[in-house]
Symmetry: C3
């Protein structure tokens, strides 16, 4: 089996889905949900952002529902948390954070890509990149009856938006699509990791 | 007027919509909403699951909006609760529960049917059956700023998913569509009723 | 540049978007959200109702995403609140209320118009007019983990629904589309303003 860029991207995408699924299911345990709630939160966290993007673009059924592997992988994340959550809890938070930043970067870049393919304007493509990255976590928090974390803490959605914007800027500067996506992903990842490391937060109106 | 299966199904569907509308409006009274809130909760509870399903399938406008009878019936449920809620409150909870289980079974089966018609994979068809069954109640709880009940208590969404899965399994085993739908509905209904009777709950990760 | 009705409507529409964006961002400050949360709430409040309407109608991508001016104007509202919120807070509440009633009327009328264009039934067109008017504020409240204000207080969604219904009634009575839209808008605006002035509320089931 030959390794093509498309196949590599697909593999990375499934890896991101698994990771976000694990994070969603972990939040379900904190919220004392049952096994079904855990599966729902894994699904919503892993696939919610892409589903919102596809519904807004009119690309229905969303790719998360066209390919059964996506929900299956999200549920695999739920199963891992359900059966091995003591083990999952012992994974260092920083390790999870770095993986999560990678997943965020991937989702932001893929969301922007899809929006540009559908001829959205640059501003809207950036917004859809951001929604793809943080939409799942937002649904998770709404289902837990909490104010979504992205709205009041951390540089998280901002990293996704910055990565999307960088990606579009690179295209405008004449770089290839692959190069632009790579730069966008690195910008998002780096901004997220550095912001956690340096305890950056966005300003709040005083 | 001849009684055809399609006409019977339509009648049962409207009956389910009325019942779910009544349940949604009753929740609005508990939450001290006004008349408008009561109508919104009746609408969302009765039709929200089907609307999400149709939006995800790209079958827009959703059937709940194409046929004005659906919103009209949901609002009739709201009116019944608004004017006769003392009477509604006196209906034995177990009677409501059995009717609700029937509505859940119907919604799960119809959701699965529509997903299969649109050539979704079996896993996704089961998910859409479950969403059709519990999506409305989930929106209702989110609008009441509560963690949706299906996520932490009872065997409810699980019954819908089991019914959908049974229905698809029967089709694979060569049964007709009508037979399969019937078996799926019975599985959902029975699992729901038995789980209430036996006080079953899903496991929570310890 | 000639002033046509279409251009005037477009201008008014952008003005309504700016105002709703300012209101959304102001709610974000009360909820102690950061700059990103403020932008999200401005966007959701200003454009959420129209986006839900367009998704339900299958008119995707929603007009709020096809024309970059809409999100840009919503974000301009966020920027105004972020940098000048002390000034914004000093604007008399009654002045804001009157402007808001005008925005509500405009959104209700435009939502009804679009639904009728897509051949929805009168009942559904009224519902979509209402959703266009209050959907954004509902999403805003859900993101703030609150029970949406429209569900339990004030004559707000009711005014939107009444305006939509009046507009459709006028069409049935043979008035032109423009006249009907005007009457619908006036009914919504007047009902909203009078209801605040007279402290009207909808009944709550006792």
């Amino acid at each position: 089996m030959q390794i093509t860029p498309a196949r590599m991207l697909y593999t990375v995408d499934l890896a991101g889905t698994l990771l976000f699924g694990i994070e969603g299911a972990s939040a379900a345990i904190t919220g004392r949900l049952d096994l079904l709630g855990l599966m729902v939160l894994a699904f919503a966290t892993a696939l919610g952002g892409g589903i919102i993007r596809d519904v807004l673009l009119g690309a229905t059924p969303p790719s998360a529902l066209r390919d059964w592997r996506y929900p299956a992988i999200a549920f695999a994340g739920a199963a891992i948390v359900f059966f091995f959550h003591h083990f999952v809890q012992e994974i260092p938070a920083q390790f999870i954070m770095v993986l999560d930043a990678a997943g965020l970067a991937l989702f932001a870049v893929s969301g922007t890509e899809k929006a540009l393919l559908r001829e959205m304007s640059p501003l809207v493509a950036v917004l859809l990149g951001g929604i793809t990255g943080v939409g799942g976590g937002t649904i998770r928090d709404v289902l837990l009856a909490k104010v979504p974390n992205v709205l009041h803490a951390d540089v998280y959605a901002t990293a996704a938006l910055a990565g999307s914007a960088a990606m579009i800027l690179c295209r405008r500067l004449g770089m290839t699509d692959t190069q632009s996506a790579f730069v966008g992903g690195v910008v998002c990842f780096a901004l997220r990791v550095v912001s956690v490391w340096r305890h950056w937060n966005l300003p709040i109106a005083a």
